[in-house]
Amino acid sequence: MILVENLHKSFGEAHILKGISTCFDQGKTNLIIGQSGSGKTVFLKSLLGLFQPEEGKICYNDRIYSQLTDDEKRDLRKEMGMVFQGSALFDSMTIEQNVMFPLKMFTDMSKEEMEERVDIVLKRVNLPDAHKKFPSEASGGMQKRVAIARAIVNNPKYLFCDEPNSGLDPKTAILIDNLIQEITKEYDITTVINTHDMNSVMEIGEKIVFLKDGHKAWEGSNKEIFKTDNEAVTNFVYSSELFKKVRVMYQEEDRN
């Protein structure tokens, strides 16, 4: 579980996060949504410790991030897995070496044990034969799956994903969403996903935090988001004709 209280973050004059408080539950896919420029990426990077907030606190179970020493912060980060928007795979390494990297770095496993673990996670993300390829030889969807494999190879307690299905076709995007949700349940981890893809919201949004101009404007589940009257949310969700129809459908369901 990750608890966030009154988080503030500025860059110079620009006040990006304006007192966000929320809680991300363990074993659930938690989504941060909002328009571009609403502060989603800054919020996610603050959760990861890549940005230092000026005010507020972030608790990882019983550990308050700002009160940890540098060594404790590094130890905590070893419990995190991250899937970056552009995958952020090490382009000079093969897919196998990319996935093996956290194991080589932080465990005392033998080479055979590491290879076995890499095999397991690559099979888990449906890439059983991609070991010797370089990231540049893999498609966008494959790169995302490798990034997920690398993020989970060391059994993290927290999984963060920044726009995991951006730039993917709808079918691959749904596959990636479902894969993340399955992994979240399977490993019982706290997953936080940053997205503005409404399909993801519908598919896997067990807990949704909606940001607007650096504030938390709304939170709830994917069932509740289509029923809320919150103006900020409705403006965002029903900007497309498709979701206007989805809303009508839900309203009709309620009436019946």
Partner: protein, 251 residues
């Protein structure tokens, strides 16, 4: 406005020294670091051998020809060609000017490779994993460049060889005269001076381009700009330190 620029320079100098401090904190596992160092030795040293040998050989030749052509007084001995070639190569060309050439080759490579890692969030990925990214990226380069003097000594050898080839085959000096010049008034301290400079320049070559790559912001275009800035600053610092070290060691 001028104050802003001064503050900016001071801030960058401060950040550079903080980065140097961070290089030696929280070291990466030796089993991984060993491979990184070997890779950097290959990329930074062995891949530079060709260009260093090529440039040294021809510059040595040019020094020999120019020295010979400028000796028009019959009282000046012919062995001066070999002597001047040796002194120029050992004291200045090999340690300093090869380092400036390397600032272009190795420095740009370091800045662009680290800068690309920054742009593509690979450095963020290292940080999120709990890796000290500065140690992981910069330390192997510093260690690899510790054998930079080896490269410079090869540059010295080929520079003098180039001088000998140009001097003897160009008809400016006999082989015996050239070799006499090479051996004349040889001072071992000059070699010590040259290698002291080389060690300092090696550290600069590893760290300033790394700094420009690591702290760059923006996209692909900015990677190119950072490489250019890194070359300019590495060259400036090498030239200033060359002056200071010459004053300290020879003055």
């Amino acid at each position: 406005m001028a104050l802003f620029y001064y503050m900016n320079y001071l801030e960058n100098i401060g950040r550079y020294f903080l980065m140097i401090g961070e290089v030696f904190r929280k070291p990466t596992k030796w089993s991984i670091m060993k491979d990184l160092i070997l890779k950097e030795i290959d990329d930074l040293i062995f891949n530079s051998l060709g260009i260093v040998v090529f440039i040294s050989f021809f510059v040595g030749g040019v020094i020999a020809i120019q020295t010979a052509l400028n000796i028009d007084n019959p009282l000046i001995p012919k062995y001066l060609v070999g002597f001047a070639t040796r002194q120029s190569i050992i004291l200045e060309f090999a340690p300093t000017f090869t380092s400036i050439i390397m600032a272009g080759k190795v420095g740009s490579y370091i800045t662009s490779s680290i800068g690309t890692m920054r742009v593509t969030e690979q450095i963020d990925a290292l940080e999120v994993m709990g890796v000290n990214s500065i140690n992981y990226l910069v330390f192997p380069k510093i260690i690899a460049l510790l054998i930079y003097p080896f490269l410079i000594s090869i540059g010295m050898f080929f520079g003098i060889l180039g001088g000998w080839v140009a001097g003897v085959f160009g008809g400016y000096s006999t082989s015996a005269e050239f070799i006499q010049g090479l051996q004349s008034d040889f001072d071992m301290y000059h070699v010590f001076y040259a290698f002291t400079k080389t060690f300092v320049f090696a550290f600069i070559l590893a760290t300033i381009p790394s700094f420009h790559g690591y702290f760059m912001r923006g996209g692909a275009l900015e990677v190119g700009k950072a490489s250019t800035t890194s070359f300019v600053w590495t060259s400036i610092v090498i030239i200033i330190l060359n002056y200071i070290l010459t004053q300290m060691l020879l003055g």
